[in-house]
């Protein structure tokens, strides 16, 4: 057929495709394999199941398991929760899934919809989903798998700390916290929630979107952002910013700060900001009173001139399209995609 050559190189050669192959083929990968570090063996869990003794034990355990399952099936009250379940692996101590405790004799468990994974001060666990990523659950953490009928993978962090390494497509993994929803945008990050429901997120790779109602923050690699139960996501900042800058920024996040305190804090933030802190300044535009917005605009414009289509009047009026256009100039990612994902999982949340 006509496209055979394009498909697999068979059939009558297409001169145009051949020429394209010749020209573009010069860009083909030709670098030999580098010397990879010997870290694989250190990362892989011991493969006990390959040992004959383990296989024998496994066979015996399987017989016992069949008997146990047969008994359990006769008790309708103990059927597994409906819906998908995620694999949980014990790393230390005795993490609990519902009333089931993982221990040395039961290294793995399944976290079903509606169930809670809880670790005490000595326990640590990991959740692995091949197509999504890995979430390490630190001690003193409570994590739930809420009902999510959509394609979005969703967990709820009530308190404690998790470390997520996500390789699912951006926007497909979401963590609910009491003070914000964290949306993975292709990244690795640490998320902590304290007993009062406030949170702190550090992004180490990629970026994360944080949202509560109309309040949203974007946190790229190297940046952090706090969340507050009443006000939602705070203003993100790069962790290498000066102590004074970060301290002043946190005052702008605090609802109880007086107008005078906030005015002084804004003065410090503007004075100490670097080009890199355009991240924080962009977020500040929609967080400060209208009377202060012009100062933030002027400072941000010094580091990153507003692109075509963005006007001072528009920004002072918080025109969302103009704010998005300016964000796209920062180079952290296209906010248009975020708007799409935001709609998707907001609709799913409202179902």
């Amino acid at each position: 057929m006509k496209d055979d050559y394009l498909w697999d190189g068979s059939g009558e050669p297409d001169p145009e495709i051949q020429k394209l192959e010749n020209v573009l083929g010069r860009l083909r990968h030709n670098r030999p394999a580098p010397a990879f570090p010997a870290i694989v063996s250190a990362q892989v869990r011991p493969r006990f199941w390959r040992l004959p003794v383990f296989r024998f034990a496994l066979a015996a355990a399987a017989i016992v398991l069949v008997a146990a399952v047969t008994l359990l099936l006769q008790r309708p009250a103990l059927v597994a929760p409906p819906g998908p379940a995620w694999d949980v692996i014990r790393m230390s101590g005795s993490p609990r899934i519902g009333s089931q405790s993982l221990g040395a004799n039961s290294e793995k468990g399944r976290l079903g919809v509606g169930q809670v994974l809880e670790t005490d001060s000595r326990s640590q666990a990991s959740i692995r989903v091949e197509e999504v990523g890995e979430i390490v659950v630190d001690p003193e953490t409570r994590l739930r798998l809420p009902d999510s009928s959509s394609g979005v993978k969703r967990l709820a962090l009530d308190r404690g700390t998790i470390h997520a390494s996500i390789w699912a497509p951006a926007g497909e993994f979401v963590i609910d916290t009491p003070s914000a929803v964290a949306v993975d945008l292709g990244c690795a990050y640490t998320l902590h929630v304290d007993d009062s429901g406030n949170g702190l997120l550090h992004t180490t790779l990629g970026w994360v979107g944080f949202k509560l109602a109309d309040h949203e923050s974007f946190i790229p690699a190297g940046a952090a952002c706090s969340t507050h139960r009443k006000t939602g996501p705070g203003i993100p900042y790069f962790e290498d910013a000066s102590e004074d800058f970060r301290s002043a920024l946190s005052k702008l996040d605090v609802e109880t700060a007086t107008p005078e305190e906030k005015s002084a804090a804004l003065k410090t933030v503007l004075a100490q900001s670097r080009k890199r802190d355009a991240l924080s300044l962009w977020h500040l535009l929609s967080r400060v009173p209208e009377s202060d917005r012009g100062r933030v605009y002027d400072r941000l414009a010094v580091f990153l001139p507003p692109p075509a289509g963005v006007t001072r009047a528009g920004i002072l009026g918080l025109d969302q399209k103009m704010l998005d256009l300016w964000w796209n100039q920062l180079g952290f990612g296209d906010v248009t995609l975020w708007r799409h994902w935001e709609r998707t999982w907001s609709e799913q949340t409202n179902r």
Partner: protein, 214 residues
């Protein structure tokens, strides 16, 4: 692109079952599985062989998204990212799609990490044409021009087309390595090529003439 031709390709794609790539996917998946298993136990030679097999895939995916001068380094980054995560790959036969996802995420991350926005220009920086392409100036200009046109295509077509035209992978091989269905790959190749032909014709008739001229 006319809908008629598109429908035609979809019909052809629909008629192209998984059987078409059975030989490639079954053999490759079996060997790859063995290499992944070996790499997970610390066999660096096995991981090196996986690199040899999959570097073109990763290279093509990155080339569709980041500046040419960055691609080689990022290819190595992707493999270094994958290396410590091998233990979490439950289905070893899905190594290709898993690696492709890491490559796409790494490309996204490349853009996010850069405060000064990196622009994918139509062409290549002048200094890398000479050092990396190892071709005559006329061919450099052609490659520069065509790469820019391919990069202007929709992402799905762009990636598949670069894997075919730059990396020299066949359609069945692209399907087996990326986890896409053969039908999808065929449609992407057909439509991508059709759009590329249109762009070649519209953007610079002179250059297109040079491309088609033997």
């Amino acid at each position: 692109m006319s809908s008629a031709s598109g429908d035609g390709v979809e019909l052809l794609a629909a008629s192209l079952g998984p059987q078409a790539v059975t030989d490639i996917s079954a053999t490759a998946a079996c060997e790859d599985s063995q290499l992944v298993e070996a790499a997970r136990t610390g066999d660096r030679t096995a991981f090196g062989r996986l690199y040899d097999r999959y570097a073109r895939l990763v290279h093509g995916i990155l080339l569709a998204r980041v500046p040419f001068s960055e691609v080689d380094d990022l290819v190595q980054d992707v493999f270094l990212l994958a290396l410590p995560r091998l233990g979490s790959l439950r289905d070893v036969t899905r190594f290709g799609p898993w690696l492709a996802a890491i490559a796409r995420n790494r490309a996204n991350d490349y853009h996010r990490q850069s405060v000064d926005q990196v622009e994918l220009t139509d062409g290549l920086p002048a200094n890398e044409s000479a050092s990396q392409m190892k071709s005559s100036p006329v061919e450099d200009v052609e490659a520069e021009f065509i790469l820019g046109l391919v990069r202007a295509l929709p992402e799905t077509y762009r990636e598949t087309l670069l894997l075919r035209l730059v990396e020299g992978m066949t359609g069945p091989e692209i399907a087996a390595r990326t986890g896409l269905t053969p039908g999808s790959v065929r449609v992407n190749l057909h439509r991508g090529m059709q759009q590329l032909r249109e762009k070649l014709a519209q953007r610079s008739p002179g250059t297109r003439d040079r491309v088609v001229k033997e």
